[in-house]
């Protein structure tokens, strides 16, 4: 019970921190503008003549690739740079409570940004008769995807005091996670590598596992993939932080 309370307190502080600066609002506006631009201009949602949000979710892995590290890069690097980590970790809490609390705050923030895309849902419902179950499934997948990227950013931000380095590292890792299962790349590899190897590598890709959600298929394996990814990265964050403290 105490643990949950501590996590809540830390998450609340982190969230107020976001909204105390204009960064949060700027982020949300940029996120909404970009989703709108790709969905309506690049993918031509209206011109497709189908009532679904596939054109909308299609872009999420690529948008998150840059936007999520921007949210997560300061999580631990700022804490280390300013020395507040010393305050935080000498309070009567465990390190994992702090890690989970800070992660949840950022995830909640991303969820809020995602929730603000609701006008797209209203639009397709107004224009046609989409399968709202599929749309919901897409949102769940998108949220998990954001969580996965965020956990990676959390991990890289624990590695360095420098936010820029932390950002670049998590973009690179995120890019690898996309490319490993992105059809143009896998097709290229299939020409000279055995198919099971390509498939094995692709099974580590967020693309492979996000695909099902987009089509409205809620597969436990995909769910487990993202949750494991989050768990693994947060665990690694803990190891890294302990490493710094041990000196």
């Amino acid at each position: 019970m105490k643990a949950l309370l501590h996590i809540k307190t830390i998450a609340k502080r982190e969230l107020t921190g976001y909204f105390a600066s204009p960064v949060a609002y700027v982020f949300i506006v940029i996120f909404l503008l970009l989703t709108g631009f790709f969905t309506f201009m690049v993918s031509q949602l209206f011109g497709r003549g189908e009532a679904s949000l596939s054109a909308f979710f299609l872009w999420h892995p690529w948008l998150y690739l840059f936007l999520v590290p921007a949210v997560g890069m300061r999580l631990w690097s700022e804490e280390r740079r300013s020395g507040t980590i010393e305050l935080l970790l000498t309070m009567p809490i465990t390190a994992w409570q702090a890690i989970v609390g800070k992660f949840l705050a950022s995830w909640l923030f991303l969820a809020l940004a995602l929730a603000l895309t609701f006008p797209v849902v209203l639009t397709v419902n107004y224009l046609g008769h989409p399968d709202n179950g599929v749309i919901l499934c897409g949102y769940v997948g998108s949220l998990l995807l954001a969580g996965g990227y965020l956990a990676v950013a959390c991990m890289t931000s624990a590695l360095t005091r420098n936010q820029v380095i932390s950002f670049i590292l998590s973009v690179v890792i995120g890019l690898l996670l996309i490319l490993a299962g992105w059809p143009p790349v896998t097709q290229m590899f299939e020409q000279w590598a055995s198919p099971w190897l390509v498939e094995g590598i692709a099974s580590f890709s967020v693309m492979t596992h996000f695909d099902g959600f987009q089509r409205g298929v809620l597969d436990t394996r995909d769910l487990v993939f993202f949750l494991t990814m989050i768990g693994f990265c947060l665990f690694t964050t803990g190891v890294i932080i302990r490493g710094h403290r041990a000196g």
Partner: protein, 322 residues
């Protein structure tokens, strides 16, 4: 309350703290002295559970810091070096956060914040954003955070750094007052502070404890301790030096300064003389018609001199060689 045994910390090949042992009981204020890089902050970081020691044990109250860190940390209030703060919060928001983390909620939380705010004189900046505070106010905000749960153990790393003279005085008084009921460790580079607030002081140099005692005891180690200084008018310096040098209990007599017509001379005692004996001998040796003694006093010894002597063994040896 605090018991530290054989505490050692290695950063790679470098030993920052080496086999440090001490205890602090309730009602004691321990001053932590030492040159830059001596290992004061590192010791405090281990003590508060921020970094694990390479070796040694830390006991806080009934708890072992390595085995029951949460329970041990609950007893401690900690002001880290340089007073780190969340810059994007207001003073009130930050203190409320600290109180919540310490398990306060509702009215109890408000009261805890209120008490800490009064203690550290923060009313005027309560709703100001922390990144617009002056250095002294930041320090006080972080100090307030450390006392918000009225802890039994206080660990303060340079608590008066960056404060104005009035605030330095206030915080010193506060430490002294709180020290009557708590166990307090604080580090400082200001030696008067040790005399003003500490019941005991430890001097640490290159990771090792080189002196441990009450400020009085430490001052006794000073060359000056027990020396008698005298101001004489209308006398001859050579004569004074000769007469003082002839005193039985004197190791050495020196002329400190001549400000005609005044001569300031000092006699250093041979070993520890009984109170007042040397002063009387000096008075008797200089009793001569025409000579006027304006001032005569026994030196207490000076902490800064002790500090310099025991934390710079290399240079002392060099000056003693020739």
């Amino acid at each position: 309350m605090i018991k530290v045994q054989n505490l050692t910390k290695q950063f790679g090949p470098k030993t920052a703290v080496s086999r440090v042992s001490f205890t602090v009981e309730r009602g004691e204020v321990l001053g932590f002295l030492g040159p830059n890089g001596a290992g004061k902050s590192t010791t405090m970081r281990m003590l508060t559970g921020f970094i694990p020691p390479s070796e040694g044990s830390i006991q806080v109250g009934p708890f072992d810091m390595l085995e029951q860190p949460i329970e041990a940390k609950r007893l401690i209030g900690y002001l880290p070096e340089n007073a780190p703060l969340y810059a994007d919060m207001t003073v009130y928001g930050f203190l409320a956060f600290a109180a919540e983390m310490r398990g306060f909620s509702g009215d109890a939380k408000k009261q805890a914040v209120q008490r800490a705010v009064e203690m550290c004189f923060l009313e005027s900046v309560l709703h100001q954003s922390i990144d617009t505070l002056s250095k002294g106010y930041r320090h006080r905000t972080c100090f307030a955070q450390s006392v918000i749960h009225d802890p039994d153990v206080l660990v303060l790393d340079e608590p008066t750094d960056g404060l104005d003279p009035n605030q330095k005085h206030e915080i010193r008084e506060l430490i002294r007052r709180m020290g009557q009921k708590k166990a307090i460790i604080f580090s400082t580079h200001i030696l008067e502070e040790v005399e003003a607030a500490c019941t005991r002081a430890i001097i640490i140099d290159r990771g090792q404890i080189v002196a441990n005692g009450s400020p009085q005891e430490l001052k006794q180690k000073s060359e000056m301790a027990g020396a008698v200084t005298v101001h004489v008018v209308n006398a001859s310096a050579a004569e004074i030096k000769q007469r003082l040098g002839a005193i039985a209990g004197a190791r050495k007599a020196v002329i400190v300064r001549e400000e005609p017509p005044r001569i300031i001379a000092r006699v250093l005692p041979q070993g520890a003389a009984a109170d007042g004996v040397l002063a009387r001998q000096v008075f008797e040796a200089l009793a001569q018609p025409g000579w006027k003694i304006e001032e005569l006093h026994t030196e207490e010894g000076r902490l800064d001199e002790v500090f310099r002597r025991i934390t710079l063994p290399d240079t002392t040896q060099e000056t003693q060689k020739p």
